[in-house]
């Protein structure tokens, strides 16, 4: 029977709960010192804009977690180990997978590395395990909502309303050449923007996600709760993206980004921030009723045109740098 708690692991502080968790782990372990906007931008996460056709809250978290997260962190030189399993009903070996994941988590904690998991509390977001206690059979956790959430029972690892057993340990970090990192993130961002198909027909990505959101605003199946949540998440992403592109335009010696592109990124960020302020996310149990839908649709159309310009400009900048 053993126990260990990593004191001082911070709570998840970003709307994007995965990158918020990564940031907290990086800070605690001193593995890499990186600003929020740089983390979101250089991994490529800030470019992601996924919406469901009815604008429900699933958009920001619907993608292939294992391969996307591994590649995103690899882009900035972080090597990580990921376990991902969907708990289908009637799965015969789930208990064994749970035990194996528990051992992996405890080993990481013993090595002073907090572990990223899916849904450590009742909030369906990524969060962190910061300790364990065999006697009480609990993991101590950090999430996006509370300072001190209730611990996670060993038995409930991987069991939630969205039952994914996701265990992610950040193992080590190597240096990556800055120009390579910049280029890789932009290539990923442009690819995401032009993506024609994302996971299933009800989800769209990048440019298509704008259209899907505009269409949803005039549909009866529009989800007010989800729209407000998505706008809050993406407002922060677009803010980080604008900061990242601005920084890249200053720091990159190979990729020349025009000032108008940076300016448009700022406009997009301001636009999403305004939408988010007008359609506030009030937490998991309250719903803000979205009004002025026609106006919002028109506004999103303008923002899409600006982002289209930004992406074409970035594509040109990468092409010229070759």
């Amino acid at each position: 029977m053993s126990s260990k708690v990593l004191e001082g692991v911070k709570r998840v502080g970003l709307w994007n709960s995965f990158m918020g968790s990564v940031k907290a782990v990086l800070e605690y372990t001193n593995m890499k010192n990186i600003e929020d906007y740089m983390l979101m931008g250089s991994t490529g996460m800030a470019f992601r804009f996924v919406m469901k056709s009815n604008c429900d809250a699933s958009g920001p978290t619907v993608y292939d977690w294992a391969s996307e997260h591994f590649t995103m962190l690899d882009r900035i030189g972080i090597f990580s180990d990921i376990t991902l399993l969907f708990r289908e009903q009637g799965l015969n070996t789930f208990k064994l997978a749970q035990v194996s994941a528990m051992e992996k988590i405890k080993k990481a904690i013993d090595n002073d590395i907090p572990v990223i998991i899916w849904a450590p509390s009742s909030v369906m977001e990524f969060g962190i395990i910061s300790g364990y206690d065999d006697e009480q059979r609990v993991f101590f956790v950090r999430d996006v909502c509370e300072d001190e959430p209730d611990p996670l029972l060993y038995d409930n690892l991987g069991i939630s309303m969205i039952p994914y057993l996701y265990v992610h340990v950040l193992e080590s970090c190597i240096d990556v050449a800055q120009e390579k990192m910049f280029r890789s993130s932009l290539v990923y961002g442009i690819k995401e923007w032009n993506k024609k198909f994302h996971v299933s027909s009800s989800y769209t990505c990048g440019n298509a996600a704008y259209q899907s959101t505009i269409d949803a605003l005039s549909s009866e199946r529009f989800n007010d709760f989800g729209f407000c949540y998505c706008m809050a998440v993406y407002a922060q992403s677009k803010e980080f993206l604008a900061e990242y592109i601005k920084e890249l335009s200053i720091r990159s010696k190979e990729i020349k980004i025009p000032s108008k592109t940076v300016e448009y990124c700022m406009d997009i960020s301001d636009g999403f921030r305004e939408i988010s302020m007008r359609t506030p996310f009030l937490g998991p149990k309250k719903v803000h009723k979205v009004d002025c839908k026609k106006e919002l649709a028109l506004y999103l159309k303008q923002l899409r045109e600006k982002e289209e310009y930004v992406m074409k400009s970035l594509e040109k900048a990468i092409g010229s740098a070759n």
């Binding site: 009742s122 609990v138 069991i159 009866e220 998991p284």
Partner: protein
Amino acid sequence: MGNFHRIQWIDGAIKEKRYPCIKTISEQFEISDRQAYRDIEYMKYSLGAPIEYSAKEKGYLYTDSTFTLPSFFISEEEKAALKFLSIQYSKIKEESSQNLARLFSRLSGQDDENVSQISIPFYQFSVGNAKNFSTVQSAISQDKKLDMSYVNYQGIFQQRTVSPYKIFKNGDRYYFVGYCHLKQDLRVFRLDRAGSMAVREEKRYKCPYYDPEKYVDDMTYFEYIRPYKCTIEFCEEMDEQNIKFKVTSRNGKRYVIEFFSSHDLLGWLFTVSSKFKIIEPVWLKEKLKQKIKKIFSMNEGEPL
């Protein structure tokens, strides 16, 4: 035998001037008098039949002999499906959905409101589900238990008796929460996993720790997980019926209680008694201490 066959028989009997009455209908089909009345009411109000009771003939007749039955009929199963749909659409606030709700309600024989021209959004459902929905709803409204066959998530088939409390939906699925007399605990059942169902002529059991607020449409805190367990010692006797959480065992004034949120549990403990002691787990004791510390520091220096 379905009501379609009975209504055809009544129609024929009236047209042949045999003047059927409640007794002849109930005897002919071995149904209750109440059911026979319902058939007459259905013909009159839902099918628009000009049917009246004649004291002279001691039976029913048509006041307009040109009346003919509509060319299509709605069976009991279909009525249950329509009732299910009317409830489902009534939950969507848009006008066209509300119109659909009224239409389905009227077709199911519940309502007589006018329906305007409408556009129909697509929605999938199974008739089996609709029938079960209707049975669970009947049991709840009659305050009765329910017998059903149920296949659990592991694919195991079991016969269960349940005291149902509430139907709710989560995503595209319907569920109901109830006290399972087999498991002797609250359970959530997926409607599409239930097989045959029947209302049992026995009053429902009232579970003291059932909280309707926890089972609301599309709420994310729907409980899929195992609960925490704690041991609490009270300084005075507690009436178990007043404990809003599941008590799994008791030893004198020590209770083993299951809970899902320390916030809910500690909040409740403060409302029922100031004299209690958390025996275990340690993390819950720590939570209590932190909470008290927080309250104390917030109030430090403040006059009471």
